[in-house]
Amino acid sequence: MTIRTIDPDPRTAALHDGASALGLADLGEIRIADVVHLVGDLDGDAKRSLHALLVDPLLQIGTWDTPTGRAVEIVPQPGVTDPGADAARHASEQLGIGLRHAATGLRVEFDEAIDDADVDELVRRLLANPIVDRWQHEPFEIDAVDDPEPPAVADVVPIRGADDARLHAIDTERSLALDPAELRIIRDHFEELGRDPTDVELETLAQTWSEHCAHKTFRAAVVVRSAGDENGADDESDGSLDGDEADAPRSPLLDRLRRCTDAIDAPFVKSAFVGNAGIVEFVPGTTLAVKAETHNHPSAVEPFGGANTGVGGVIRDVLGAAHRPIAVTDILCFGFDDLPLDELPDGSLHPRRIRAGVIDGVADYGNKIGLPTVAGAILYDPAYTTNPLVFAGCIGSAPSRALHDGPHAGDRILVLGGATGRDGIRGATFSSATMNATTGEVAGASVQIGDPIVEKLLIDALVGAEDLYSAITDCGAGGLSSAIGEMAEGVGADVDLTLVPRKYPGLAPWEVWLSEAQERMVIAVTPRNVSAIAKRCERVGLDWADVGHFTGDGVLHVHHAGTTVARLDTDFLHDGRPRRTMTAAPPTPRRGTPTSRTVDDPVDTLLRLLRHPNIASKEAVIHRYDHEILGSTVVRPLVGVAGDAPADGVVIAEPTAQHGIALGIGVNPWIGLHDPEAMAFAVVDEAIRNCVAVGADPDRVALLDNFSWGDPRRESTMGDLVAAVDGCCAAAYTFGAPFVSGKDSLNNEYIGADGERHAVPPTLVITAMAHVPDADRCVTPDLGEPGDVLFLLGTTSPEFAGSHLDLVLGEPDDPGVAPSPDPDAPDNYRRLHAAISAGLVSACHDVSEGGLAVALAEMCIGGRVGAAIDTLPDDDLVTSLFSESIGRLLISVSPPLVSEFLRAMDDGVLQIGEVSASGMLTLPGVEPVMVDDLVDAFTNPDISVDHRSSS
């Protein structure tokens, strides 16, 4: 059936916009229709009732006739999630109509005169992605395919006696992404066993030992090489790299972060760096789980599906920590919109399409599953053109309870959720490899489209069932092999793959075991509780299967139709991997020689900064996300009179609860290009500062780290990573804020058709989650009453390396120094928190990208009110206005409260001016600027690279 809308279909307008933005041929009038393929013996009655269901006569016209004319039809690849087909099957069942097969598609119709090549270009650039879609110019004849069941045996891979060249060939052939040392250990292990591995065993090892699952770099011993030192010795040149013996390899990065958390010993940390998410307890009786993940490679090749399943995955992480998900975060990094198509490397999607797809993917999952997407950021840099970054986070809440201590021998292994198909096979090894021009084609199966409704059912079934299982984990990268493999560590498991529900026949055992079909959780359940779990699943309509049990013999035994396909010692699986030693060449940042800048026209510069897409309003995107569901969003990502000004942190609190939690994000890769250690400190400071600015307690903050980095086998890249971890640890100690979880995504590089290497800048995202004692006392940046007095907290120095001023005006030959830590910040934040808690602050905003001038402008925009500034923090105007020194906040205070505020702050603030009724922002020595002009610049972002060229 082909269904067309009566009113203009808004999708056609989006298509025209997209085509014109990319400079594609004008294709004249375009019509879009939805196609539903319903295959079966449908009589007249059946057709009538399906027509009545599928076509709303007020909105649509439907026809059973096969359409003709110039068009393209796009349908999902076989096996790709098609919720429309599922709905059609459900409806037919309800209506008592027998259907053999169902599928949905999109038909795009053109005028006859349009050239086929132009149509294909449009489809390829904007409409379809061969990774998940197929298309043709004729209507599809779709029918069910009977895929023959393959012989249920595993292949044996001859590995014994293989030399390095042969091992390499096996690695390449099967896309294992293992390194030579690892391959040799596997060969030796099987030589010892006197047999060759099966494909199931080899793939299980590759997944478990992948960078994605094993975090080999963060667990590697690190040899720090000083600049120019060929011997790998370490001369302890950097004072901050303390705590280890000089010449010996340093402890792994993950250990450093863990030790730091142990040393801070915060009483609220319940679980750090263990399991799926970090767990804290700010208020007795309630614990919070927090996790953020990256989904960079999948989002590069299939932006919608990649971002979609990224959100789904991190929600499952929180569910896998036995917490009810309550909010989602997203931090996105893209290239600029105006990249000419001829500069786009082959095999890459255009940044505009990546952005649109990623944002749709994030919105689709969060909105449908019913979680507010609250905190986030969007960053633009040419370096993200072909390697976008997608960081998705999730917060969960649960009544306090002891951590699960299973699985125990005898527990049943239950798989809950969607059926298993050939989806996302080898995702863990895919995301651990550097992308090249053909990645988009060969990695096709690695990306899937999510099905948020199934995951909603998982939440419905599992929240409240915490006492019925002894262990829980999600099926993410590596599928069942990772999930059951991890749970079985030290216990052992016996799994019958024939019991795993399949989407369709024809799957080889290794495919079932490795499949990354989304929306599945694995739980360990004592036999007497199985029926209670089953009942919960059946109530909400969630499929479940009992696929085996945990044994107690320490062996992972997987069989299929009575034949063993894998028998692996879990000790070897989890501890057999040789520990890597990585060599790091630490960066040599400029320190101690600050340089200022010259700015000819401060007002024009301010307006250009406000228009820069990193700073300008994200309103258009934020309204795509439901940030209201659950009714808990107290401080939204958009604030102010007109709801278009940026918040610092966001606050969520149940509608009738007094306390809440603040979420703050810190990220600044541009500082990272100059000084990764200073960047790490700065972004931790920013994340915490964002929380403090809305009313959170600086002494109850938990942190997450997410590193997206280039290839760490390059010594300088590894050196940047080591320096960044040093900065993280230093900041965590300084603020007494422990890291509770983290994730690294390495190899964010792209080798383009030009043969050149493209790496992302060192991108560290810090998420701070902090306790808000009184959600009724939150403050936001929007200025209030004229006459309110404005104060600046913190120290301003000429720190411009990595600043947005340089992004806008161009970087000078000597960029000077990056922002350095402010030792007074922790005490400043505590005093400010006391002042906010006492109700003395009417508005507060952190000073970050673009410096004081941008922060003041944003406060004016929020309140649609002016400000008259009479005092600046530095003698140098440009430093005062545009330096990005960290640790600073702007605060406005009602006049009667000023003396009390100053007492609370121990007089450690600079009075700089007041809120003014003039409708202008006036700064000493600068032409006054109308607030309307600030609004105009801020609300019209320029997502093109053009404005970045120096004036």
Partner: protein, 239 residues
């Protein structure tokens, strides 16, 4: 506490059932969230209730059109029982996806198409309650403030003037029409006035702190979405 028992109807993918249950509880009713299948199996869940809500969300992921699958489940599963419920004068409200379900089930006039801007939109709106037949908006002197969050909320009706004449336009968007709805219509009644369908989410404005301008003195008790639920509950209690 009014003693009014409210049934909150949910399907697979309904996600604001908890929010609306909170709103009903705060407004004095006793809510029970019931899945469509349970509603079909256990007659008393609907038959003994004083008030019914079809909650918002993405039932069946909006596949093949928002609300269509859940409407099918309810019409085939419940037969005339939902219609009988309405005929007995007991109040029914469908919010967002629930509104889409009720139009598809034939309990409310009109239809809901894709937003004119072509995508999902979440923002706060201001709703006027013109004089109408709705028991849910009786005596609302002040506009209601609450968020919308939908992709298919453009209200379509072949003859909106007739709807107005019949007193069935219960809520209108003030100043900002967020989705291209005909006549700025945000909510409509059935001919009897006991059924209300609306796209916005009054259940997400039940305490003053939820208002985005609360800190600046915006919102306030008279603008709470809670008022709509209080009206429905009052009507149910009076039966």
């Amino acid at each position: 506490m009014s003693g009014v028992e409210a049934v909150v109807i949910a399907g697979p993918g309904t996600n604001r059932d908890g929010d609306v249950a909170d709103a009903l509880r705060l407004a004095g009713a006793l809510p029970r969230i019931v899945l469509a299948d349970e509603l079909v199996e256990t007659r008393r869940f609907l038959d003994d209730a004083d008030l019914a809500v079809v909650a918002g969300g993405f039932s069946y992921a909006d596949s093949l059109g928002a609300g269509r699958m859940l409407a099918l489940d309810l019409t085939l599963g419940l037969g005339d029982r939902l219609r009988d419920f309405v005929a007995s004068g007991r109040p029914v409200i469908g919010i967002c996806n629930g509104f889409q379900v009720l139009t598809r089930a034939g309990l409310l006039p009109g239809a809901l198409g894709h937003n004119a801007q072509g995508h999902f939109e979440c923002r706060w709106v201001v709703l006027d309650a013109p004089k109408s037949n709705s028991v849910w908006t009786t005596g609302l002197d002040s506009p209601i403030h609450c968020p919308i969050a939908h992709g298919e909320g453009r209200y379509v009706h072949p003859d909106p003037e007739s709807l107005e004449t019949a007193g069935q336009v219960a809520l209108r968007y003030r100043s900002t029409n967020p989705n291209g709805s005909v006549g700025d219509i945000a909510g409509v009644s059935d001919a009897s006035g006991v059924v209300l369908g609306l796209m916005p989410h009054p259940e997400n404005h039940i305490v003053a702190r939820q208002h985005p301008l609360h800190r600046r003195g915006g919102g306030g008790d008279e603008h709470l979405g809670l008022r709509i639920f209080e009206n429905g509950i009052r009507h149910a209690a009076s039966l």
